[in-house]
Subunit: 135 residues, 2 copies
């Protein structure tokens, strides 16, 4: 999922882009690259292909549950980019809450008690993947 | 920041890796790639170089505020990977809370009122970057 164009395509999908021709509006994304990336994203289970919702002959690329689970990654990257990648006066996109039109609060890493955690509050440990039960 | 090795190097830094020789322990990361990626990360302001904290001749790569702000991205990717990238019975790393040894709660995108938001609850809008005031 880490490849740059894959992330851009997934971000577009979160903006409800579904068709090849819509994804292709992204400047700089060549048709053959888009086709290859979409195929890869379908192969690894990020997208599934469905008939068009308007009964036309088009097919639509819809995020699977696995794909939709990438939403916090896309939001974290978007918010980080909003903060660091633009100069004063430069035009860019910000992520807003439909309910009130306000910027989304910046994602915070929190404990189960809701306390904010930094890198020093966490550690990584080797585990064997558990058998996934019903959720 | 989106390049794969850059993200891996930044993740190591969040685990308190600071020296070239320590970063180099990562299997698959060739010395010349590591040197080039670290230089790039210093150039774009993710890391700063400092003299070693133990007064030895080594230098240390320390995340800047900009670099540390990538923590939610790294956590979101780690948690997504924990969920989707490993087969049952496979050994991998999970991110735990030092306080209680429990897995970190999965990052959620929330409104300022604390309600959980999905992609359909958000929109992106063009803005001109504001002059940054004191925070």
């Amino acid at each position: 999922m880490g490849e740059r164009w894959c992330l851009i395509i997934i971000r577009e999908a979160f903006d409800d882009v579904r068709r090849f021709s819509e994804f292709q509006k992204n400047p700089g994304l060549a048709k053959n690259i888009l086709a290859a990336r979409l195929k890869h994203l379908v192969d690894i289970g990020e997208f599934e292909i469905r008939p068009a919702s308007d009964s036309s002959a088009y097919k639509e690329y819809i995020l699977t549950e696995r794909g939709r689970s990438g939403f916090p990654i896309v939001v974290a990257m978007q918010q980080w980019g909003e903060r660091y990648l633009f100069e004063q006066g430069e035009i860019h996109l910000v992520l807003l809450d439909k309910e009130n039109g306000e910027p989304l609060p910046v994602l915070k890493v929190c404990s189960s008690q809701g306390d904010r955690l930094g890198p020093a509050d966490c550690y990584r440990q080797r585990v064997v993947t558990e058998v996934r039960g019903e959720e």
